[in-house]
Amino acid sequence: MAPKKPNTERYQKMAMSPKEYQAYAKDKEPPRSILGNCLKAFLIGGFICVIGQVFTELFVHLMDMSREDAGNPTVAVMIFISVVLTSLGVYDKIAQFAGAGSAVPVTGFANSMCSAALEHRSEGLVLGVGGNMFKLAGSVIVFGTVAAFFVGIVHLILGTGGQ
């Protein structure tokens, strides 16, 4: 069998120096505006926090909680809303638009747990849901716990523990 003739002609037409190619590829890249992304993150993230503030005010005024005590139920309500929106497939659509604006609030944390649970549901409740729920959220908990431990140790050594 004769060796295949390299199809040089066709490639030659497109031949570019690496520099030219890079310029060409860059030209075809979808535009990524850091400023625009930050603006979207700011607006959506701020909006989510305002919703949280509404619930905080409700807990403070209707249930006579202090502002510090209202933090926990507020977070729980936000997580509940996030799980509902994730189940309906709405949260992922918001996330595509908002980037960090929907990922950084605690709703993004709940979203990562809920979507992992839903994604692995077909593998069963124990191995699928139970085993994968913390797949993405786990790093947040691990690093938060380790950091809190070391901050606590520093305060213990300095003798400045607790407020």
Partner: protein, 116 residues
């Protein structure tokens, strides 16, 4: 007024996360882990509580407050029951958030029909 500060501070923390995505090119998991550690350190310096007083949900809703709550539990318990509190207190304050996320996510997985 607190609503305005919640919007501005919460939005600013999200922009910080977006900059980590776009400029430092961290993965979302790395960004979240970094933000939690930042929250823990800021509370270690006693600065997160004033931020909550000032910005309300703008400080409690972003994931940085999770780091703050972990440290807060550890320090409160350290004060109350000595060195062992550093270990036993860590999850005292965050229990609501973690439990809510686990329970609601599990129930959602029970109710929602799997796609695959």
């Amino acid at each position: 007024m607190i609503f305005l500060w919640a919007f501005l501070v919460g939005g600013a923390i999200c922009v910080l996360g977006q900059l980590m995505f776009d400029v430092v090119k961290l993965t979302p998991a790395h960004t979240m882990a970094t933000l939690v550690v930042i929250g823990a350190i800021v509370d270690g310096l006693d600065l997160y509580e004033p931020l909550i007083k000032f910005a309300g949900a703008g400080a409690t809703v972003p994931i940085t407050s999770f780091g703050n709550a972990l440290v807060h539990g550890a320090l409160t318990e350290l004060n109350k029951s000595g060195w062992i509190g550093v270990i036993s207190g860590i999850f005292k304050v965050t229990s609501a958030g973690i439990s809510a996320a686990i329970i609601f996510s599990f129930l959602a997985a029970l109710i929602i029909r799997p796609k695959g």
